[in-house]
Point group: C2
Chain length 197, copies 2
DNA sequence: TCTTTAAGAAACTTTTGGTATCTTATTGGC
DNA sequence: GCCAATAAGATACCAAAAGTTTCTTAAAGA
């Protein structure tokens, strides 16, 4: 009775695929090795022989995806704008698309594990800190105008929140925010943006 | 035999404390209600009566922390700079400090679940995408200078990565990146920063 | 064809999340 | 100060799922 049996690369491809499907649907938290075995149509020992933890497998699966879709790299694309502005828009546009399709979407679900209602509470917390941030920056800007400095008065919320978001992002990805980088943030990013031209 | 028995606010404070310790050490993924019961020196039913999921408890614990340290709010502080630059530096400085002590550090561990070595792999992935991003933006900037536009040539890596980081952050916190916000990013943030004055 | 390697089936053990039951300390009303 | 109501905590229990072991057999290579 010739039961066919996958092995090697073919088998692993199926495992990675199953892994990504699960992460996609249930987040990293929902990823367990037995589940993967089932979804990939293989058995638990096969999985346990190769990986020790769901996280290890998750990383491998994402890396596999990246390897597989590497052609999608942004720097391969040809830009067609005829100004810095146009090129930048084009680039960011593509980035936004690639971050959706590409392995990046998995990267996101690697970090977040949110079911809809849980999301609510979290959302509220972030919003609240944003409000605090906003008041703080408004205070700073007001002092500047009172002092007679030329500051834009029509700043969008996104612009006001930029420095805080920047710092938070760095905390997320565990990149140290040094004194030097903070100075760079103020001098090379914030001042050019906030200053009235 | 007078076994003392905590209740109400006192008990809950201990539970929150235990919760934060666990999140701190093992990340959100490592947080389970039985573990909390053990760490808080109480029993499972006490926990289960109040919360249904680890996530609920996590949110409550962080909110408790925020309430508790609310005095740390940035907008309470008095600014003493005598220029926009000085004020901004002061503000971001405080923000950085508060994000460390404050509940925000928990917010971080809410999203990430990393034991040290797992961190490595993740770090590498992020670094690699950063390199790709960097090449892409370099291409854009080169085209601009070739075209004769006035573009700064001494841009720090942080400045080059800014747009990508900004988009990624928004993806993380699940804030939609609209066409409009993308345009704002280019016009109000990138162009002022990248343009030679 | 024979040997080696690895996949897969199945049974089993262990862990742990979650529930139900019961006892007893604490609080507050009388 | 006594009694009833409330809630903490101990314990036992259940169920599900993680993880392991053993064994069989398909696939690959010599």
């Amino acid at each position: 009775m010739g039961k066919t049996r996958r092995r090697g690369a073919e088998l692993e491809a199926a495992i990675y695929q199953a892994t990504r499907t699960i992460i996609d649907r249930e987040g990293l938290a929902g990823l367990t090795l037995p589940k993967v075995a089932l979804a990939a149509g293989t058995s638990k020992p096969v999985i346990y022989r190769r990986w020790n933890t769901p996280f290890e497998l998750a990383i491998a699966a994402v890396q596999d995806q990246i390897r597989r879709e590497n052609k999608g790299n942004m720097d391969q694309y040809v830009l067609t704008g005829n100004s810095l502005r146009a090129d930048l828009l084009q680039l960011m546009h593509r980035f936004l698309i690639s971050i959706d399709t590409f392995g990046n979407s998995y990267l996101q679900s690697l970090f977040t594990e949110i079911s809809q209602h849980e999301n609510e509470a979290l959302r509220k917390m972030i919003d609240r800190s944003s409000q605090i941030d906003m008041r703080a920056i408004d205070g700073v800007l007001k002092r500047a105008t009172d002092r007679g400095e030329n500051v834009r008065t029509d700043l969008a919320d996104d612009l006001k929140l930029l420095p805080f978001d920047w710092v938070r992002y760095n905390i997320f990805v565990q990149k140290e925010v040094t004194e030097q980088r903070l100075t760079m943030l103020v001098d090379d990013i914030l001042l050019p943006i906030y200053s009235q031209e």
